[in-house]
């Protein structure tokens, strides 16, 4: 791929085969599968909530991209500092955020992860290591570099992670951030979820080459390009990269090639999906389903039979339904929230 094409990784007719799980620990794989299922079903639930009008604001869904966050999260710890963007439900769920509080946030409820002040596009769960997501494209990328620099100064081996998309690399601040991270030797991991689209525009209409890792090379940052729908490939690359960063070797750049099944925003598959996206392509990418491929791999080893799979899905379905119903019953923020916390509420001493 030294021509910076993505080759077979961007070909919807390739990479359909079951994930090769030989030699892996079955328990850990079942945990990965369950988290991917949780993300998938949570997002399906949000799609429905948006379609039927229960959710008032936009939701950017990543169905089809679950393996990226789940593969990365296996190497993270709570003291790491992870930053997301507009399509970040998978990131927080992979890190252990409560579904109830995530749903409550999307519904604008007071118990939400951002106290009902953020909605789907502004998520926060610092106790689980998620430092915030925002919808300004690439807005958090330099923040992740700074949080990584802080980790280096604090000397505890923590890392900063910036999730960004292939559209974000078209923002100038990403290039500044890559250079800065490299020059400061900050333990920052740039995870590009390259789903080939920025809103409606295919990458071929936006960039001369499809592999965004060329910008890592330009900034002398080690990179890997992986099948983003292979959770084990993501996990292996993320582990290598994060271990190096923890050991003081500076930043890393992980490009995970994937695809979203829905359009840019909300629940539809048939609108706002963009230029150069065909039903044939979507069908091919559905066959590259990261969940079905892991299930097939587990099945081939006899580690997950049909009945166990059905039971796991039922368990997750129930969990999601319960969280949704709890969130729907939660209360709104009080009117005073409108002007609270504009500034930090610190105790001010009297003279």
């Amino acid at each position: 791929m030294n021509d910076w094409s993505l080759g077979h990784l961007a070909d919807p007719a390739r990479c359909w085969e079951p994930i090769d799980v030989a030699g892996q620990n079955p328990e850990s794989l079942l945990a990965l599968l369950k988290t991917m299922l949780r993300i998938r079903q949570a997002e399906r639930c949000l799609a429905e909530g948006r379609r039927n009008g229960q959710i008032g604001g936009p939701v950017h869904l990543g169905v089809g991209q679950e393996a990226v966050a789940v593969g990365v999260a296996t190497s993270l710890r709570k003291s790491d500092r992870v930053f997301g963007a507009h399509r970040s439900h998978s990131h927080v769920i992979s890190m252990g955020t409560s579904l109830h509080r995530l749903f409550a946030e999307v519904l604008g409820k007071q118990v939400g992860v951002s106290r009902g002040m953020g909605g789907s596009m502004h998520l926060w769960d610092q106790p689980n290591g998620f430092y915030g997501s925002v919808p300004i494209v690439a807005g958090t990328v330099p923040l992740a570099v700074g949080a990584a620099l802080a980790a280096k100064m604090q000397g505890r081996g923590d890392v900063g992670v910036a999730y960004l998309g292939d559209g974000a690399v078209e923002e100038g601040v990403v290039h500044e951030s890559l250079n800065l991270a490299r020059m400061l030797e900050a333990p920052a991991i740039f995870v590009v979820e390259n789903n080939l689209f920025a809103s409606h525009m295919h990458i071929s209409l936006r960039q001369p080459k499809a592999a965004t890792a060329r910008f890592a090379a330009a900034n002398d940052i080690p990179y890997e390009i992986v099948d983003g729908n292979d959770v084990l490939a993501v996990r292996a690359a993320a582990t290598r990269m994060i271990d190096l960063a923890r050991a003081g070797k500076g930043p890393g750049f992980l490009e995970a090639v994937t695809y979203r099944w829905y359009g840019h925003v909300d629940w539809r598959e048939d609108i706002d999906v963009g230029v150069n996206r065909s039903a044939v392509d979507l069908e091919g990418w559905r066959k590259r389903d990261p969940i079905a491929r892991l299930v097939a791999g587990l099945d081939a080893q006899g580690w997950l039979n049909q009945a166990q799979q059905v039971a796991m899905e039922a368990e997750v379905t129930q969990e999601v339904a319960l969280a949704w119903s709890e969130a729907c019953d939660d209360g709104d923020p009080p009117p005073s929230a409108l002007t609270s916390h504009v500034f930090v509420d610190r105790k001010v001493s009297t003279p």
């Binding site: 500092r81 930053f83 939400g112 951002s114 106290r115 009902g116 002040m117 953020g118 502004h122 926060w124 610092q126 430092y131 915030g132 925002v134 300004i136 807005g139 958090t140 990328v141 330099p142 923040l143 992740a144 570099v145 700074g146 949080a147 990584a148 620099l149 802080a150 980790a151 100064m153 604090q154 900063g160 100038g172 601040v173 500044e176 951030s177 250079n179 800065l180 020059m183 400061l184 923020p333 929230a337 609270s340 916390h341 504009v342 500034f343 930090v344 509420d345 610190r346 001010v348 001493s349 003279p351």
Partner: protein
């Protein structure tokens, strides 16, 4: 400990030293920090004293360095990001306006980037339109940002310290035209920025002159000349432009009945207009002896030619003249 002699620049330096000495989580990044000349005498030898790991000269990347400072603040540090000229900071406006200012409110009070963004006004000397701006009013428009403009030697040191120790994002705006100003300062006493606001620097009864930063020094000097003519001017220094507490102004204008707002920015949607509106909303019309007046920049970018520069900026003479007219003209 007794007081010591400082100028505005060395007072800033003393503020940095106090912070770096006492707070290991404080670090500084920005362009020119390893250069002997970029930021006047305000950061001399900090790199030698506190190390290149805490005084970080950066690539030419205003946007990323400001964002990085915010990220470091979210991760428990107290960073100061330095922009040696405010004009160049415009590259960083997403980080300042969309990120730093909004995170506390947007995440329900759970996230507070305690970052200080030092932005230096550096104009004059025929540097032209892009080496001259004072955009404090823009920043004061944004909820969630504290905006501080020290006009005195004491405030240069003490408000810098208060800004960095404040849990909110603060834009700290100092002015190279003030660096030679001298004063005696007592030892540092740490203050809470929330308690700081507009302050009366000179009491008077004929009119109230409100200003900030360098304009405050113009107002003080003009007040000195006015006094020789028998005009008694009260001078109020804004100091903290956001959040803006106009109470001291209201009290003063209630007494004097005349208001002159002097500002080193442009008039439309500017700080002088905000000063006048805030006062006029709360002072009884009967208490006003004259309509308020604002003195600001001509509504044009800064010129380059020295001859035009001389007439572009407010001066002691133009402040004095505007004040005299307000008091004496029928």
């Amino acid at each position: 400990m007794s007081s010591a002699r400082y100028n505005y620049g060395t007072a800033l330096l003393a503020g940095f030293e106090h912070l770096l000495e006492n707070y290991p989580e404080v670090f500084v990044l920005g362009q020119g920090l390893w250069s002997p000349w970029y930021v006047g005498n305000s950061m001399t030898d900090l790199d030698k004293k506190y190390g290149l790991h805490r005084i970080i000269d950066t690539p030419v990347s205003e946007s990323a360095t400001t964002g990085a400072a915010i990220g470091a603040a979210l991760a428990g540090m107290k960073p100061i990001v330095v922009h040696p000229r405010m004009d160049f900071m415009l590259y960083a406006m997403d980080a300042v306006v969309n990120q730093a200012a909004k995170w506390s409110h947007m995440f329900g009070g759970q996230a507070g980037p305690a970052v200080t963004i030092r932005s230096i006004i550096n104009r004059g000397g025929e540097q032209g339109a892009q080496h001259s701006q004072s955009l404090h009013a823009w920043l004061a428009h944004v909820p969630g940002l504290r905006v501080v403009m020290p006009a005195t030697v004491a405030d240069a040191r003490d408000l810098l310290i208060a800004s960095v120790l404040c849990p909110d994002p603060v834009v700290f705006i100092d002015d190279r035209w003030l660096y030679e100003l001298e004063d005696d300062l007592p030892p540092v006493v740490e203050r809470q920025l929330e308690r700081e606001g507009p302050k009366c620097l000179l009491a008077g009864h004929d009119l109230t002159i409100v200003a900030s930063g360098y304009s405050t020094q113009l107002a003080l000097n003009a007040a000195g000349l006015l006094a020789t003519e028998g005009i008694s001017a009260e001078v109020i220094d804004l100091r903290v432009l956001n959040p803006f507490d106009p109470q001291a102004l209201i009290n003063s204008v209630t007494k004097t009945g005349r208001l002159l707002a002097v500002d080193g920015g442009w008039s439309p949607c500017g700080m002088a207009g905000e000063v006048i509106a805030s006062v006029m909303e709360r002072v009884a019309p009967a208490a006003m002896k004259k309509s308020p007046v604002r003195l600001s920049l001509p509504f044009a970018p800064a010129p380059t030619a020295g001859s035009l520069e001389k007439i572009y900026y407010p001066s002691v003479a133009t402040v004095e003249s505007a004040a005299r007219e307000l008091v004496t003209k029928a």
